[in-house]
């Protein structure tokens, strides 16, 4: 750990921002056309993973066009969050499905 911290400190001293240390993975379930939970909080560098129990394909599509994730039937899709801010998202195939992610820096 010590050498890793020293490495990070060195990178910092050189003005290089190290890649976010492996963020958390936050799971959102899709069941019967609902994102569950519909709202989650995350940090930049975290990954959102949608896991679908539905027999039709979905997408998780950010209204600000930041990302557009394909989620196959009974499958999963993921995105790693790059920017802070609140992102509303929906399913392009079933726009009655909506969710929100609050991304902290």
């Amino acid at each position: 750990v010590g050498s890793r911290l020293a490495g990070l400190a060195l990178l910092g001293a050189l003005g290089i921002v190290p890649p976010a240390v492996a963020g958390e993975t936050i799971q959102v379930t899709i069941d019967k056309l609902k994102f569950d939970p519909p709202q989650v909080s995350a940090h930049v560098g975290d990954t959102i993973e949608w896991v679908s129990r539905d027999f039709v394909a979905h997408t998780a599509t950010a209204r600000n066009n930041d990302w557009d994730v394909a989620i196959p039937a009974k499958g999963a899709g993921r995105v790693t969050l790059q920017h802070p801010g609140d992102v509303d998202y929906f399913c392009r195939f079933h726009p009655n499905m909506t969710g929100r992610i609050s991304v902290e820096p």
Binding site: K32, D54, N96, M97
Partner: protein, 173 residues
């Protein structure tokens, strides 16, 4: 055109309502047949759109219709098999098919932007009508819990299609 679509929707709603207004409510075998038929109709109309349209939004929508309605109908077939129920043809299914054949013949005569708009508007109207029938007649009348559950999930999927169709229709204006 709009009035005709609304009128067509009203006729279908009456037909579906009429099917339970009589002595006999539709049984599960008939309900399964109606739901399956409604899905097949939308698949066939989407296939026409895929033959005729060059508009990306319209084609994407039509591909979704083929994929989703095929998936729902596969679930329906698996369920009736499991329940040992044979879907039973009935006046509502027949009326749906007759009306859809007429509408498809009408659409087939149109080209380009005129086709795209008529297809999208018809998809909005058709999903509205079928969703209304599911909500007010088919789901409340279904007696088997698993059939009720599949129809309810179907309704959520088709409500999504209705909104998607509205977006497509809006983008063509």
């Amino acid at each position: 055109m709009r009035l005709m679509l609304i009128a067509a929707g009203a006729v279908l709603a009456l037909t579906v309502a009429g099917a339970i207004a009589g002595d006999a409510k539709p049984n599960d075998a008939q309900i399964a047949h109606i739901a399956y038929t409604a899905g097949q109709i939308d698949i066939t109309t989407a296939e026409l759109a895929l033959q005729k349209s060059k508009n990306k939004d319209v084609r994407d929508f039509a591909e979704n219709m083929v994929r989703d309605h095929t998936a729902v109908n596969e679930q329906a077939l698996a369920l009736v098999k499991k329940l040992n129920v044979t879907p039973e043809d009935n006046d509502t299914s027949k009326a749906l098919v007759k009306q859809a054949d007429a509408k498809r013949a009408e659409l087939a005569k149109l080209e380009g932007a005129a086709f795209d708009k008529a297809y999208a508007d018809n998809e909005v109207a058709y999903h509205k009508t079928v969703n209304n029938a599911l909500e007010t007649v088919l789901i409340p009348t279904a007696s088997n819990a698993e059939l009720k559950d599949l129809l309810s999930t179907g309704l959520k999927i088709f409500q999504g299609h209705e909104q998607h169709a509205e977006h497509v229709a809006q983008s063509l204006k």
